[in-house]
Symmetry: C2
Subunit: 228 residues, 2 copies
Amino acid sequence: MKRAIVLLSGGIDSTTTLAIAIAEGYEAYALSFDYGQRHEIETQAARRVADSLGAREHRVAKIDLRVFGGSALTDDVAVPKQRSEKEIAHGIPVTYVPARNTIFLAYALAWAEVILANDIFLGVNAIDYSGYPDCRPEFIEAFEILANLGTKSGVEGKRFQIHTPLIKFSKAQIIRRAVELDVDLSLTHSCYDPTQEGLACGECDSCLLRLKGFREVGIKDPIRYAEK
Amino acid sequence: MKRAIVLLSGGIDSTTTLAIAIAEGYEAYALSFDYGQRHEIETQAARRVADSLGAREHRVAKIDLRVFGGSALTDDVAVPKQRSEKEIAHGIPVTYVPARNTIFLAYALAWAEVILANDIFLGVNAIDYSGYPDCRPEFIEAFEILANLGTKSGVEGKRFQIHTPLIKFSKAQIIRRAVELDVDLSLTHSCYDPTQEGLACGECDSCLLRLKGFREVGIKDPIRYAEK
């Protein structure tokens, strides 16, 4: 059975990507990161999702992005709330974590080399996250070239492939695909700034994009949000 | 003053690279990794070197490469000893750490973005480490392209440059350059398998290459080796 590394944050995009990899016949090795997030809720969601979808393995790599700071997600910077669609769509937000996808893909590549996998799945999305440079197709292509040059497997003639099945999907299209694949979206977590109890704030960019997606599909988001 | 990130293991190559960056007028931000090495001697050497050469800052990022295994340097695999020059020069050794330079450069890129540096120095060497795929010039070029596509700074028109001043140097040439730059090589550490007391084994690939380099230059290696 062909093996694939699937980067899994526990959000809707990476969860749907894991379901797609499994539906395509891959034995999935899910990889999450504990990178000094404000809450551990994200890695807990990833664990639930990996179990529920039947990943072969799930590992959480502890990495220290706080050592540099520079983002609202790793530093003491406020997460922006209630921004308009236009504000979310343009420019690079303060929630951008410097070089995050480069770091995540580098780790995925390391694990892929060890288990002899040639495929890495990443749930990036160039539509909703147009402001993130490392979610663009040209970035992914550049990483694929790097992977084939910088690894033992690449040198020995294997071809690494980075799969980004959602890169051109809107959030609504992703939710529809998840529903088709029977993904339990109540297990997912998207919020950048959850409450102590783990409830989504409903106001950060990530919650707003998620809620808009569910509205467009015409179904109710199954997760709980904090009372206003 | 222009800033540069310098990847610093505390070995001869990265130490000389740091001295070169400073000699070229960069304010140097030295970056080391605590990646589950068998000994902490490596990060201690890096600390001494950064202090001695006058790096502006030195940070040690704790990263977990043991989560995947796959190398004699992170796993429970024996470090090979007393290999011939021919054995060292050919093939990919078991001390190769999967995707290590990709991971290191990704972290360097993250820090560069935060401090607004456009330059990263890396002491890789394609001569002595011909067996390591991620020490080759084409790998470095691919990372440079990736860096400019995958970062906020790159998108905003800055050009990241990865400097590898030693890539075509032999170990003897590196030692000569270090001596010219008044680098105190007694502070450096190269051994893959030091004793409990921190003495170099004198028999692993890294010690053998180091000793050969000093022999060729005709000076005595100032570090202490374990008694046989």
